[in-house]
């Protein structure tokens, strides 16, 4: 008997086609409603690995950006403090020049000495600056104030000692790229020489006999220390610029990564809607033909 078509096989074919169409529509619907091309790894195994890799990369760039922002904040804070110290040093230099003038009397020198003392206190205060509890000039001993002053019976500073260490703190701002965000006070203040010279300057002015040659030597030593500090300030200021550039390039790569992720992972809504329309048409016709075919039997025509 050639090619018999039974009701059962008609029903089966109709049903399986309708199911298939619904399945396709469900797939498109899922992509459209989630907005994603990949909703589970099996949707696109190689795309999944790519997206996961890109996301991990993007997260890391975000970490570098975070680090850069924090570094910027810390460096700016330190830079501001350094600038204050620099200004204080300039004032001290001016005062020292003024004091070196032989025409001044002892009382004038005492006045200057007192002024120097005030400035010394200010320098010390700045050197012990903390940023939200972290002492910025203590090396890695960030919870210890950087300098301790020993005072004589009159409460005047007689010597200053450094409590920190010379260790650098580095942040990672890129693959294998680190930036030093602190400036250990030991190096900055020339192994305390800046302080000890300042104290000697003050004491020289207070001394009963003023040795102008010795004073001039001290002034030179202090100038050297002030210049060394200026060099550090300039170097440190340059870091802020470097960080600005780092931020820009990190932001660029972050944007690029996000675009790549979106390209791989996000659904193409326009083409999905066209697909959906097409699938709907197919479903409509399979439903219509199914309805026509499975209803009819010979019974309708026999009487």
């Amino acid at each position: 008997m050639p090619f018999r078509i039974t009701q059962e096989s008609l029903n089966r074919t109709t049903l399986s086609n309708i199911n298939l169409n619904y399945k396709k529509i469900q797939g498109i619907q899922e992509k459209l409603s989630s907005g994603k091309q990949i909703n589970r790894p099996s949707d696109d195994p190689s795309g999944t690995r790519k997206v996961l890799g890109l996301r991990a990369e993007e997260l890391q760039v975000q970490q570098f950006l975070d680090n850069t922002e924090t570094a910027k904040e810390q460096i700016n804070y330190t830079s501001n403090t350094l600038e204050s110290i620099q200004e204080l040093f300039l004032k001290i230099k001016d005062l020292a020049i003024q004091a070196g003038n032989d025409t001044l009397g002892q009382s004038d020198r005492n006045i200057i000495a007192n002024e120097l003392d005030e400035l010394l206190e200010s320098v010390l205060q700045n050197a012990n600056t903390d940023n939200n509890g972290r002492y910025i000039f203590s090396g890695t001993k960030t919870l210890t104030s950087a300098f301790t002053a020993t005072r004589d019976n009159n409460g005047n500073i007689s010597s200053v000692s450094y409590n920190g260490n010379n260790e650098e703190i580095k942040y990672q701002i890129g693959p294998n790229t680190f930036i030093q965000i602190n400036l250990p006070g030991g190096k900055l203040f020339q192994d305390n020489k800046a302080f000890s010279t300042l104290i000697s300057l003050r004491d020289a002015l207070k001394a009963s006999t003023f040795d102008s040659a010795a004073f001039s030597n001290l002034r030179n030593t202090f100038d050297a220390a002030a210049n060394a500090l200026s060099t550090e300030v300039t170097k440190f200021g340059a870091k802020a610029n470097r960080l600005e550039m780092t931020t820009t390039s990190l932001e660029n790569s972050q944007t690029a990564l996000k675009e790549l992720i979106s390209y791989t992972e996000d659904a193409d809504v326009a083409s999905l809607i066209v697909d959906l329309q097409h699938q709907e048409n197919v479903l409509q016709s399979s439903l219509k033909t199914g309805a026509m075919v499975i209803q009819q039997t010979l019974l309708d025509f026999l009487r």
């Binding site: 790894p41 099996s42 949707d43 996961l52 975070d66 990672q172 039997t297």
Partner: protein, 657 residues
């Protein structure tokens, strides 16, 4: 005349019986596995007359089944394949949900957050709230590992139950087949074809093949034997019932009810479940374990060499025990096998800050834990503060004299010695390839920072000059000089004489033995694989123990080392931790996507085979209706004939009467 009536009667009876066959077909049009039957009609034996043979009407000689044995066996095969494929795709879908790698609660995200926490720690190593956040991130990572392992275990339990149920289905079906075999054979001896029983058996064979792939042999007596590669399930009226067994290594096998012989199936639901239980889940379990143990090992290795906020310990006890305190360390049952090398213990005087570095050399092939204990006790003693090691419960315990603390840091000794009257200070982090010793020697005599051309030479342990430093008139005492490999030196003012010398241990790995990580001393994680990974109790109880530093509180050197682990392309199977995880996700996706596709394609094949079977064996209602009309007409014609014969008889009788 009576033979005339007989012919008419045969027509009526045959038409009636054929209508019965037709109506049986129509009523079974929707019966699963029903095979269309049709009546075979033939002329009855004729009467021989002188004129020739005279027909004697019609008879129904046989009711036949329209079957195709080849198609039926193909359908059984495909049913087995569909059974396999649907189980596979069903459970892979579930596995995809368990791993859930594209969602927010994924292992991938937990791992990223863990490293993000380390990164934040590197920004603010002294901040307790950042440490607590990092601890939470680490807990999420370990919880996620354990959650997945737990869900895999639950899946295994579920699969085991499912196998049990399906085996009992197999046993029911096979005993039914054996019963029908018996009935068919007994009818056959009476010469009767038992069409509907054959259909019933065919349906049972089809159901059975969904559970497991079978081959069917029909015997001459009408019985069938059901075979699997492992042995026969039904032979005639004998049934072998099945059960399963799990051996000590956790492998599930299908056996006969006496657990005497093993059955290996080719395809089908049971085989797919068995494979999933024995291979697929075990495979993902293993991959998870590889990842977890890799993370535990690397993080602990780095963490154990770091220092927490307190800067050192006064006492510490290992969390992992050795199998025997006298066994060589490489055979002492440690999950991480230590290697031969050196371990440095730094002792710090808490009041002066003076640092002593002590080297303990370990040969893992010959030294036992007791030897290590003795070596620590022997090496680290004297005026620098007594370190005492002891062993309890096969665990190593280290303590130090009052007024001292100790750590295992690779930080450089900040004050390694003096040169003449000048004190040397060292800073920086050694970045060289391997541990070394630098010897600093004065090349001339004079005053630091004053004497023109005054130099200090630095040699490594191989005698090679790594740096020559100018400390004369161009140098300001107290300034830092770059030596080499990240090490910096500063000399205080003072005078030196040719030949003045001191040496400095430059260390980048303070435990080349990995003994600290193996024993669980100052480690971050406890556990050895994905099922038991956890943050160590000590760290959980006190986040200040998180070793972000190599010395002081603001030092983030070790946090940076931990953070660098996320980029380590040789961390695991020549790739990073994250990428290894991405590979797992992607291979699972690949496996699942293939399973979905093959399930779909088998479905298509089954539909087309079923349609072909219907072409031969299916009931077409239209066709049956046509037959019905035909037999109805035949009946009517025969009845008419009888009525005509009857009329003839009447006429004859009345004429004669």
């Amino acid at each position: 005349m009576s033979s005339d009536l007989q012919i008419g009667l045969s027509g009526i009876l045959t038409a009636q019986r054929s209508m019965l066959v037709t109506s049986h077909n129509i009523s079974n049009a929707n019966t699963k596995g029903y095979t269309k039957q049709s009546s075979v009609l033939a002329a009855r034996n004729p009467t021989i007359t002188t004129a020739g043979t005279l027909g004697q009407g019609v008879e129904l000689v046989k009711i036949i089944r329209h079957k195709d044995d080849y198609l039926n066996s193909r359908l059984r095969d495909i049913s087995s394949s569909i059974g396999s494929a649907s189980i596979k795709s069903q459970y892979l879908k579930e596995l995809e949900t368990v791993f859930n790698e594209t969602s927010d609660s994924s292992l991938n995200n937990a791992l990223s957050s863990f490293f993000e926490g380390i990164n934040d720690l590197s920004q603010y190593p002294e901040d307790m709230s950042i440490r607590s956040t990092f601890l939470e991130n680490a807990n999420t990572l370990t919880d996620t590992f354990r959650r997945i392992v737990n869900e895999l275990d639950q899946m295994k339990t579920f699969i085991k139950q499912s196998i049990e149920n399906k085996l009992s289905d197999v046993n029911t079906i096979t005993s039914n087949i054996a019963n029908i075999n018996k009935q068919i054979a007994s009818l056959k001896t009476k010469g009767i074809e038992s069409n509907d029983l054959l259909d019933k058996r065919e349906a049972l064979l089809h159901d059975l093949s969904k559970l497991t792939h079978i081959t069917v042999n029909t015997q001459n007596n009408g019985m069938v034997d059901v075979m699997t590669p492992g042995g026969s399930l039904v032979s005639g009226t004998n049934v072998k019932s099945l059960t399963f067994d799990i051996d000590t290594s956790g492998t599930l096998s299908i056996t006969d009810s006496e657990k005497m012989s093993k059955f290996t199936f080719k395809t089908g639901e049971i085989k797919a479940l068995q494979d999933f239980y024995n291979t697929t889940i075990a495979n993902y379990d293993k991959k998870l374990d590889t990842l977890a143990s890799g993370i535990i090992k690397d993080v602990n290795r780095i963490h154990s060499e770091g220092v927490g906020l307190s800067g050192g310990f006064t006492s510490i006890k290992s969390i992992n025990s050795v199998s025997s305190s006298t066994a060589a360390l490489n055979t002492a049952g440690l999950t991480i096998t230590p290697s031969t090398g050196d371990m440095y213990i730094t002792v710090i005087n808490t009041s002066t800050g003076a640092v002593t570095k002590n080297k303990v050399s370990v040969n893992v092939a010959t030294n036992s834990l007791t030897d290590v204990k003795n070596a620590i006790n022997a090496t680290v003693s004297g005026t620098a503060g007594n370190i005492t090691a002891s062993i309890a419960d096969n665990k190593l315990q280290i303590g130090v004299a009052t007024g001292y603390k100790f750590n295992f840091s690779y930080a450089l000794d900040p004050n390694p010695g003096t040169m003449g009257t000048s004190t040397a200070s060292v800073s920086g982090v050694y970045s060289g390839q391997s541990n070394d010793t630098y010897t600093f020697t004065a090349l001339g005599s004079g005053t630091i920072g004053t004497t023109s051309g005054l130099q200090v030479e630095v040699k490594n342990s191989g005698g090679t000059v790594v740096a020559t430093l100018d400390v004369g008139s161009t140098y300001t005492a107290g300034n830092t000089l770059n030596v080499a490999n990240g090490v910096s030196l500063s000399l205080s003012s003072g005078s030196i004489t040719t030949g003045d010398t001191f040496s400095l241990n430059v260390i980048n790995d303070s435990d080349t033995t990995n003994l600290l990580a193996a024993l669980g001393i100052n480690t971050f994680f406890s556990g050895s694989d994905a099922s038991n990974i956890a943050v160590s109790t000590d760290v959980s109880n006190d986040v200040s123990l998180i070793a972000a530093s190599t010395g002081e509180v603001g030092n983030n050197t070790n946090a940076l080392r931990l953070a660098a682990l996320q980029d380590d392309t040789s961390a695991i199977n020549n790739t990073t931790f994250a990428d290894y995880l991405h590979q797992i996700a992607s291979s699972l996706g690949e496996e699942a996507s293939n399973a979905y596709k093959s399930e779909e394609s088998y479905d298509v094949i089954e539909t087309s085979l079923e349609n072909r079977r219907d072409e031969i064996s299916g009931v077409s209602v239209d066709e049956e209706l046509v037959n019905l009309v035909r037999y109805q007409q035949a009946y009517q014609a025969s009845a008419k004939y009888i009525s005509i014969v009857n009329g003839l008889m009447d006429r004859l009788l009345s004429t004669l009467g």
